[in-house]
Amino acid sequence: MGDYWRGQRKIMKKYSARFYIFLVVLILTVLLLFIPLLTTEHYLFASVIFMIGSFFPFFLRFEWKKVTGRELVMLAILAALAAVSRIPFASLPSIQPTTFVIIIAGSVFGAESGFVVGALAAIVSNLFLGQGPWTPWQMYAWGMIGLASGLLKNTWFMKHTIGRTIFGILCGFLFGWIMNLWFVIGIIQDFHWSEIIAYYSASFLFDLAHALSNAFFLIVFAKSWIKILSRFKKKYGLLL
């Protein structure tokens, strides 16, 4: 009986730890998105601090973790797949399956792996296509999407089609908004409400397309992809 309760407490503890991480990340992300609106003085400084604060702990945690060769290969393949995933859609502009791949990776292999796949996909695709001022933002956005889907993996959001769809739509918009930040922070610097809204509405159509394609992929393919990845999780002997 005691064992049972200890086990339960352990699970609770694990869950609540996850919950807090998620909360912190969420708050940081939301703050990051609204910095341009809240402050006009130390936006640059503040935003970089926020980014580092929410990104680096996970980045370093992976760096210091002992990872097997099989895990590394698995993560590298998933990130490479996410990076080349636009190729079949060459004739269909604005369809972007990268985010879908990252969400699925996170929801099968957990938060840390999701984060790694997301950030890595951004780094490698930029190493191939050329780095730009957008690279860190892309790393941040995709890394956080992978992280979030991993943290939510045992919740309603990731367990049900509706939840996944909502999550996919949110990711589509959040990704676009974070990506807009690179020039908002890097170039405009002197913010004003109307300006921000104008810039963000200019990207609305792109973000909508991204959100809808995420939703579509998640509705149609989430189950089969989760099944495939779970099979390999077993086959690679990964417990992650």
């Binding site: 089969s224 099944k227 495939i228 099979r231 002997g237």
Partner: protein, 554 residues
């Protein structure tokens, strides 16, 4: 004290009842060159992997492995990873780094070597292999043979004393394979590295090695010098095993009672046939020329190039395929064979020239009567069971008689038991058969195959050849690109040689090989220009030779 030794080694994979290896006791001396052969699933790879601790499979292991008199488990892992090196089958999958130099030093970094020492070792190795011009290359731009040499060099840089090789040439073309095997021989002779290699290219390895282990069902069936093993296999009259004998040996054993000096090379084979007195038997040749059949598919003056800047891959090529024939297209690497097959399959569109199907010119998509099996059948499979995959094909084709047709094909190919497996959990040969079944469902008139025998063991090759003969008997025309002379000589009706994007010559298979000097079978090279009637295959010799005397003094 043996150098590498197994005592009563048995191994069973989890969830399996039958052991993959049972009670194997071996003793290998330092500097020996050992070849492991035998059918797929006989435990060769498992044995090799058990000797390489880092990648040893999980499962129930019994018995002991000794290396230099010490138990494998007790040797320092760091030392062991250096001492026993391993090269795998697929050249592509072993590469882990983006550039050749990084690939070479990957192992050295793993064992914590410092930069200066790495530089020195790489400099030496690169010089020895003559690959210094490749150092800055991206690995994906290398040819298959170059990739495998880089893989070998990367392992040798760690200075192993034992080198394990798991079918290292299965994915290479014959020329690259020969080069690779010579390299291994050189490593063995000049540096005394102990070699254990699983290999199916018997003609090439039997003359090179010191010792052959023939494995079956997890046990070592015969073990000894190459000639002894051949003799034992022959004596035991295991006809199924004859496909494992190198063809000069087979020719010899079938036509002599002597049985002592089994020839392993063409040179030895020629010496032997020149001692023979043979009465040629008149054989009723099948004179029904396929070229008298209706032309089903014809290409005329085809030009093709992938990008504007590059030259033509296919250059004003003309080729006619006749109904009901089995045509093999052979030629060196990079002559455009695979591209030609893609053009025929409609996967690429020629820039110039005309394609006629059943006498009618076609433009745009090719008819469904043409199906194509790529080199790697894996890329045909979408679903997670074979049954689902086949059902899906049936649905897509909306066949009315799909069920019966499928049943018929499955029984011909003997695949009924595999239906509920994942396509990736069956062997390469089985996967290929399933792929062919899925292609045949649409009742095609022509089947295009891209190197169907690549990576198959001799037994599976034989099975594939016989199955395709049955397919041909169903009225399907077969066009195949291959590097495998022996296979083409045994089964096809006609051969076409490709050179610089053109068809250089076409002829009936038998005439084709008799007319070639280099591009021909081993048996033809033995008998060409000798005092005995020239033959192409052991089968032909069986039909045409009648031995009336043998002068062993000569």
């Amino acid at each position: 004290m043996a150098f590498l030794e197994t005592k009563n080694l048995s191994f069973t994979y989890p969830d399996e009842e039958k052991p993959a290896i049972s009670d194997v006791s071996l003793s290998i001396a330092q500097g020996e060159f050992v070849v492991l052969c035998g059918p797929s699933g006989s435990g060769k790879s498992t044995l090799l992997r058990l000797l390489k601790k880092e990648i040893a499979p999980y499962g129930d292991k019994q018995g002991i492995i000794h290396y230099k008199g010490e138990k494998l488990e007790t040797i320092d892992a760091h030392l062991l990873s250096k001492e026993i090196g391993m090269v795998f089958q697929d050249p592509e999958n072993q590469l882990v780094m983006d550039r050749v130099l990084e690939e070479l030093i990957f192992g050295l970094e793993n064992i914590g070597m410092d930069s200066e020492q790495m530089r020195k070792r790489v400099a030496e190795m690169v010089h020895f292999f003559g690959i210094h011009h490749l150092l800055d290359h991206k690995v994906h731009l290398l040819s298959g043979g170059q990739k495998q040499i880089v893989n070998l060099a990367a392992v040798l840089l760690m200075e192993p004393s034992v080198l394990l090789l798991d079918e290292p040439t299965a994915q290479l073309d014959p020329v690259a394979a020969k080069d690779f095997l010579q390299m291994i021989k050189q490593m063995n002779q000049e540096f005394g590295i102990t070699i254990m290699m699983v290999e199916h290219r018997l003609e090439d390895v039997f003359p090179l090695c010191d010792r052959v282990l023939f494995m079956e069902n997890g046990t070592v069936l015969t073990d000894g010098k190459p000639r002894e093993v051949i003799q034992q296999l022959w004596k035991k009259k295991m006809l199924a095993k004859t496909s494992y004998l190198p063809s000069p040996a087979l020719l010899y054993l079938e036509h002599t009672k002597n049985g002592q000096n089994i020839p392993l090379t063409v040179k030895e084979g020629r010496r032997w046939v020149n001692t023979l007195a043979i009465n040629p038997k008149a054989v009723a040749r099948n004179n029904a020329l396929v070229t008298e059949n209706k032309s089903i598919f014809s290409l005329k003056n085809i030009d093709f190039h992938y990008d504007k800047k590059g030259g033509n891959i296919v250059n004003s090529l003309s080729l006619t395929v006749y109904e009901g024939e089995w045509l093999a297209i052979v030629g060196a690497n990079g002559t455009g064979k695979s591209t030609l097959l893609k053009l025929m399959a409609g996967l690429a569109t020629p820039q110039k020239g005309s394609i006629k199907w059943n006498g009618k010119k076609i433009k745009g998509p090719l008819p469904l009567d043409i199906v194509y099996l790529p080199q790697n059948p894996k890329l045909l499979f979408v679903h997670d069971t074979i049954r689902k995959e086949l059902e899906e094909v049936k649905k897509r084709l909306s066949l009315s008689d799909g069920g019966e047709k499928l049943q018929l094909l499955l029984s011909i190919f003997q695949l009924e038991t595999l239906l509920d497996r994942h396509p990736y959990d069956v062997s390469g040969g089985e996967l290929q058969k399933i792929a062919i079944v899925s292609l045949l469902l649409s009742s095609p008139k022509i089947l295009l195959l891209d190197e169907p025998t690549k990576g198959l063991d001799p037994e599976m090759k034989k099975e594939l050849g016989q199955l395709l003969m049955k397919v041909k008997a169903l009225g399907v025309t077969i066009v195949m690109v291959t590097h495998d002379m022996e296979f083409a000589a045994l089964y096809t009706d006609r051969c076409a040689m490709m050179f610089q994007g053109e068809i250089a010559s076409t002829a009936r298979t038998n005439d084709f090989f008799k007319g070639n000097t280099f591009y021909t079978t081993v048996i033809n090279r033995i008998t060409r220009g000798s005092q005995v009637p020239e033959v192409v295959t052991a089968e032909e010799a069986r039909q045409r030779w009648e031995i009336i005397g043998e002068d062993s003094e000569k």
